[in-house]
Homo-oligomer: 115 residues x 2
């Protein structure tokens, strides 16, 4: 099965830009984390069906789970209307967050909005 | 009720960086869109309980729904472990996407990953 990187997404890579990648639990739809991808990261993600990101802090490719075992198995990939964001539906092995929390978004703003 | 912008998030604003903001349906957990916020956008979002972003293309604040009526009413805000991404749980009025689709992530990559 050949996947092609859509032109809307590729246009950002051609400009040297990264795209944002949201990982979401494929069953519960919980948002797990947000990270970044360059073309190589997206290609590896597609080919291996395991999420690979571009680490902006380490300036290197980052196979999620390589050291922790907490891989993200890809179930579906979609991209947004202007091609600068990607949504990965994944089966998360273990925790997405390095803190051990399932999601990186485990901190809420204090206060309460209307119900 | 006073909300404070968490220091992890504020540190990015102090460096002149934008943070990524994911809007998610508060009932179904569907991811609707990804946009960007500066400090003023986040402050307005908190104060008005309506999502306001920073438009990178127009270089201006953008109250989502101002022209379309498709506002996003904020139900909950969380932020990730390194403070560079925000998750908004929203009640989406109408469509999130300017194409009329409910979500901006309505295009899937062709092909199929393992079930």
């Amino acid at each position: 099965m050949i996947f092609e990187i859509p032109v809307e997404v590729a246009s950002h890579f051609e400009k040297g830009e990264l795209v944002a990648a949201i990982a979401q639990d494929f069953q519960t739809n919980e948002v797990l984390m947000l990270a970044w991808m360059n073309r190589e990261a997206l290609t590896l993600t597609i080919e291996s069906a395991r999420a690979t990101y571009w680490s902006r802090s380490r300036n290197s490719l980052w196979l999620k789970g390589e050291s922790s075992g907490h891989f993200q198995e890809i179930k579906e990939i979609s991209y947004d209307c202007d091609g600068d964001a990607i949504l990965l539906k994944v089966k998360q092995i273990g925790a997405a967050c390095h803190t051990g929390e399932r999601s990186c978004f485990h901190n809420k703003l204090n206060g309460k909005f209307s119900e």
